[in-house]
Symmetry: D2
Amino acid sequence: MIYRVGVVGFRGYSGAELVRLLARHPGVETWLVEHRQDAEHRPEPAGQPAARRIASEPDAIAAAGLNAVFLATPAEVSLALAPALVERGVRVIDLSGAFRLRTAEAYRRWYRAEHTSPALLAEAAYGLPELCRDRIPRARLIANPGCYPTAANLAIRPLLEAGVVDRAAGIVCDAKSGVSGAGRKPSLRTSFCEVVENFSAYSALDHRHVPEVLLTSGLQEAEFSFTAQLLPIDRGILETIYFRAAKALTGERIFEIYRQRYDAEPFIRIYRPGEMPDLRAVQRTNFCDIGFVFDAASGRGVVVSAIDNLVKGAAGQAIQNMNLAFGFAETEALL
Amino acid sequence: MIYRVGVVGFRGYSGAELVRLLARHPGVETWLVEHRQDAEHRPEPAGQPAARRIASEPDAIAAAGLNAVFLATPAEVSLALAPALVERGVRVIDLSGAFRLRTAEAYRRWYRAEHTSPALLAEAAYGLPELCRDRIPRARLIANPGCYPTAANLAIRPLLEAGVVDRAAGIVCDAKSGVSGAGRKPSLRTSFCEVVENFSAYSALDHRHVPEVLLTSGLQEAEFSFTAQLLPIDRGILETIYFRAAKALTGERIFEIYRQRYDAEPFIRIYRPGEMPDLRAVQRTNFCDIGFVFDAASGRGVVVSAIDNLVKGAAGQAIQNMNLAFGFAETEALL
Amino acid sequence: MIYRVGVVGFRGYSGAELVRLLARHPGVETWLVEHRQDAEHRPEPAGQPAARRIASEPDAIAAAGLNAVFLATPAEVSLALAPALVERGVRVIDLSGAFRLRTAEAYRRWYRAEHTSPALLAEAAYGLPELCRDRIPRARLIANPGCYPTAANLAIRPLLEAGVVDRAAGIVCDAKSGVSGAGRKPSLRTSFCEVVENFSAYSALDHRHVPEVLLTSGLQEAEFSFTAQLLPIDRGILETIYFRAAKALTGERIFEIYRQRYDAEPFIRIYRPGEMPDLRAVQRTNFCDIGFVFDAASGRGVVVSAIDNLVKGAAGQAIQNMNLAFGFAETEALL
Amino acid sequence: MIYRVGVVGFRGYSGAELVRLLARHPGVETWLVEHRQDAEHRPEPAGQPAARRIASEPDAIAAAGLNAVFLATPAEVSLALAPALVERGVRVIDLSGAFRLRTAEAYRRWYRAEHTSPALLAEAAYGLPELCRDRIPRARLIANPGCYPTAANLAIRPLLEAGVVDRAAGIVCDAKSGVSGAGRKPSLRTSFCEVVENFSAYSALDHRHVPEVLLTSGLQEAEFSFTAQLLPIDRGILETIYFRAAKALTGERIFEIYRQRYDAEPFIRIYRPGEMPDLRAVQRTNFCDIGFVFDAASGRGVVVSAIDNLVKGAAGQAIQNMNLAFGFAETEALL
């Protein structure tokens, strides 16, 4: 069976990446869903085949037989579209932050807006397969994780589960992201001349991705210090995570913890103690690469977690979730 | 005497460069002229001294005793402000394209807009000191040249004056500019993710800077092929200019032509035959560096002309013009 | 049948791209051929499958049953390896400049070295399929074209064949390349701090890729002005080509010339008159995108030709040649 | 009096910056000291005035009347040159790591080499004026601090002196540097194609700049976690520093601590609570900009410290030290 899937926001960076990756998928047929007309013209070669297009009317989408729709849209657009689609039996994979938290109250605090579908918010499955795969296959609505929490949770949770982290000393996550994470809408903050040859921190201790880390890792807010920073590159996230050991620990033991936890995971790659991934290792892939250094004498550890924010941090993970939802091999179109 | 000079558009890239360079000038006091309020906030250290500020009301500007105002503004704003300032005896140095051409007709063709002050347009002095210094000192309105024509005219005119160019074969000027030349207003075209790791041509044969080259060099439109291109860098213009010799010629002779023409010019630097400047040589300076390669056997020549688009291509040249207008040393604040 | 193919120089940029692209090819098995040991260590995830490796001994390579070997090596290494491989019945696709010209004399002039296999030089097939496909399938040695000539010839030859270019006025090709074209060997010229925020011209009128353009296009040296320039990006070549029409001509007619010439070519894409490709359109693809602007009044034309220097300019074209040599679909692993 | 000062290593990035800054200084005459001849040719305009040059012979340097010499050289070169110069009464400002630690033992551990002048090592003054100005004016040998420790110590020590940091929980310093900090010698690690669009961590917990932080701040090694990372930019260091409060604390109180400590310091600028500097604020200046965010509820703090690695992190600070040594205004040539 060929599934029909739509992409809302296909002109944005995550949406365009979705379209590019879906083109490789033998089991789906991609439809571009026009939401708001935007006039941005990009020169294109003559004579290219036309894509299938449809307007973002829920009834039309259901009538056209679309099995799923990816929302690569701002949270407020996802809030407007998701309920009507789900109601019509169209599965939704939402790449925005609209359905990632559990309660309307948490949404209000971190997104500074009212949530208009709290029941659906409570129902949504959080789509980080390696850590919460169970609920994804049958979910009507999958909340695709934020890019920062994806890299952070994959690195942190195995260590917490193994009980080797001194939580009282706190975990520090110093995160750096390429500019595509901020979306395609022009703004001064993402203008070339403001970003190039520059580097800057933003949302220190107060980023809206923080609650996703807390929910998935079980850390308390006071135990987790997070700063997001803007790298002068197009794509890639690298997070440098600092912790202190709760008990006697070695680099080899940490290596074993990660390997055992992720042994069967095709998208998680662990480096030998003392070796660190860089962004080149993961760009344009769905991998999350994890490396670390540990000083046994003092119990200090540094973990580096790297992903491509548009792939494992957005479009790739969304397709991984779709593969789970439709029963494809989880790696289809992603390796 | 200390001259009072105002800068309209001081938050833009050229305007900010003007403020930065004027701060080094012992003979002027700089006033920031608020035109349209823009909310852009950039974090700043606490406790910095406040700048002198004034609104862009011509009467207020005259009453405050400003001797000159730099307009680092779009052409339509310059068209609105310049006449009223000139009328009140405030000298104007306009960095926009509003007063660079000679006739309203030419303005209409290249800027696709009506010129509202054709008399002032006819009166304005074109502020390219090395090629037309005479009228600058006494001008009420100085039209600061475009960045592309500055680099092009300085390289081309000596060769044309010396009669060594085969004009019938045409001159090609392949121009590349950093992104700051497009101004600070956010747009998709100048967004980081669109520019980085990219390179693109625009306005081939049809750039509004072309008529400035024709007016200053004396070339006919059909003799001059120009393409502007966007470099993934902040600042700098490099133009690669191709010509064919009209008669027997050598690299040494070309070197002599340039050296004689620019012998007394502090801001023009000529390279030995076969050596070419790069952008690093001129960034953050008011220099125009010129190098070339010439093949005597075939009569083919390649000239490279490099400037910083924000300095010799904008703010630096504007101050050079101000120095001429007020009788300062031409290099004051610029070396 | 599965073909065994080796890659010499697999740690270089072109070689690594070959390995990456060949991994997608269902009809080949890739062997890494160790030539000179280089100690460069790049951190890698633990537990990756080992690649097939072999030393660069021609006898060993033949004994292992390799059907073809790609030489992603400097010209002097290719000169040393190619004859022995060809002799042993191993087909060679050479990515260096060693076998691209026709005579030892031309090689001496442009490469400033003696050619040690002039007979093989004369025999080699020039591997630019769109313009000289005939001899590739049966060639023992395929000389993969230079990156600059690939983009130039594909853009220029259709216009010359159609007789619309005024050759006496000369053709100008202003070429810009990403840094990966210079190879992976560290040098000051390709150091980050020398390249970033910079742009520079080199080898004006004297680049060793020029004779490839002359051979394939039929132009005389005096008719062709070429400058190579270094873009502060990783990959991509964009060439801006200027010509004058030999007779009455229109943009639509140029469009038809290109479309007819390349109608059946899967890797050449033509843009509508007035639209230009940028590098983003071709990066990580085997496409050559061609756009142009033409001013019918004056007969001036500007053509932009864009490729990825590591794909259509190196590894992708090499695989395209291999596909022809082994009878695969020409697009296998490349779309 | 005009002082004569020499620069060894003037072709390197720090050395070139020294020469550039010294040219603005009215009280000194700069001599280029040739050490090892390096053939690197960079095109230059014709007719530039020749610089004063001298060989790196200590006797010649003393005979020429040089009052001070800057060593912008690797540690082993500084070890070879500094003792002989000091002996001849020439003051030395060393930009390498050769004389920054206190004991040969510490040098052996962190630099993995023997120190050949332990007495001079013990005698040298550490040239971080804002924190240890006293011994600089009369020192024969000034050890100019490392770039990372400059930014770290200026941010950390006021908080430690005020006793507001919970040292048991540890301080994390996540440091990012532009590539010029690695010097001008070509290497794969600093090649353009390896760095651009990339980001990578190195020397986690084990960087040779760590002992400078411990010596100046008084922290124990186990209390300080440091990772150095390579930004794809030319120049600038930004360090993100995480701490936990030892007692009740507010952002306003932290602001006061910094302001009081640095009130009289011309090169330290403090931002209001919640505002952070970026690299643009400090590039090409001798400023160290410090901003922070503090969450009073949980006692978590994040401090950002930014400098230009070639100015406050190298050449600018070296001139600041020279100004102190010769009795010039500390800001001469630096504002």
